[in-house]
Amino acid sequence: MKVIELKKSVTESNDRDAEVLRRELKGRDIFLINLMSSAGSGKTTLLSRTISDLAGRVRIGVMEADIASDVDAKRIASLGADSIQVHTDGMCHMDAGMTRAGLDALENNGSRIVFLENIGNLICPAEFDTGAHKKVMILSLPEGDDKPLKYPLMFRESDALVITKIDAAPYFNFDLEAAAARARTLNPDIAVFPVSAKTGEGMKAWEDWLISEWEDWRDA
């Protein structure tokens, strides 16, 4: 027996699959966004509002991984968006292979933005590249403004941070400035959007960012 030194990341084979998928999606004109958060942070609610607000401007699809049932997928489909449900068999994150399989369920034609609603936790999804072009994470007010200190990798990896449920501000001791500052210490380039999907406050800034990132990607 011979010893072979590897020093290989466990995620290496996945990283390669993800890179291939990312390039293929460019050819299919699908802009894929990996949406990550703890369970109940408001992913489905944010997506629902975004789909309604952007109706007529861009075709949106949602791949639901974070589900106990198909309730979320039905909610999305009722809004007229393409909805795919993926079965994760108890896994704690989506990887590139599972994402590819999910996307194959999408009819092939037409330019669009597809959101992957990842499984609700902040640890595992941060480590696995799904092949998405952008990563967006959600932090909801009730989770506390010190979350960046607890889950630094997720904040470092994300292109945007959406802080949801800001309509609940009177009930929680959440310091928006502190949360944004902590996120920026970990990731100076992160875009931060405080929103309420309930009242609509802040939604426009988030949607404008989304559209402009999509257009930049398409035109690149």
């Binding site: 027996m1 010893v3 072979i4 030194e5 590897l6 290989k8 896994m91 595992c124 200190l149 210490t185």
Partner: protein, 136 residues
Amino acid sequence: MHELGIVQHVIRTLGDVAEENGVKRIGSVTLEVGEVSGVVIEQLVDCWNYFRERDPLVAGAELLVETIPAVTFCTACKGEYETVRYGKTCPLCGSPETYLLRGNEFSIKQIEAELFSDGEESAEEGQTGETSTGGK
């Protein structure tokens, strides 16, 4: 479960490694796991013992785990301290503005492997009468 997915990824990565290096069979795999990587080592070993029997490349291979201690960095005083002992509040200056520096890793450090060429070499060695030097 996190460990289930991780073991599947490890085995796939080992498959790639085997192809690149002409590995016939793997005898042991050494992982480096950060103290706060969130991986439960007992579960990892259970998943490993289950999955290894489904792939001839790693059938019977032993899983060895080396733990990397977790270290936290304090943005206030720029100090470093043991994460597990002190948590997120810096013991040097009391600041809560800290983040993890190390201890989150998860990588495959090395493998012990039998190569396809091992057999050929020993056959050649046998023919030329040389004494074997490498390997176990």
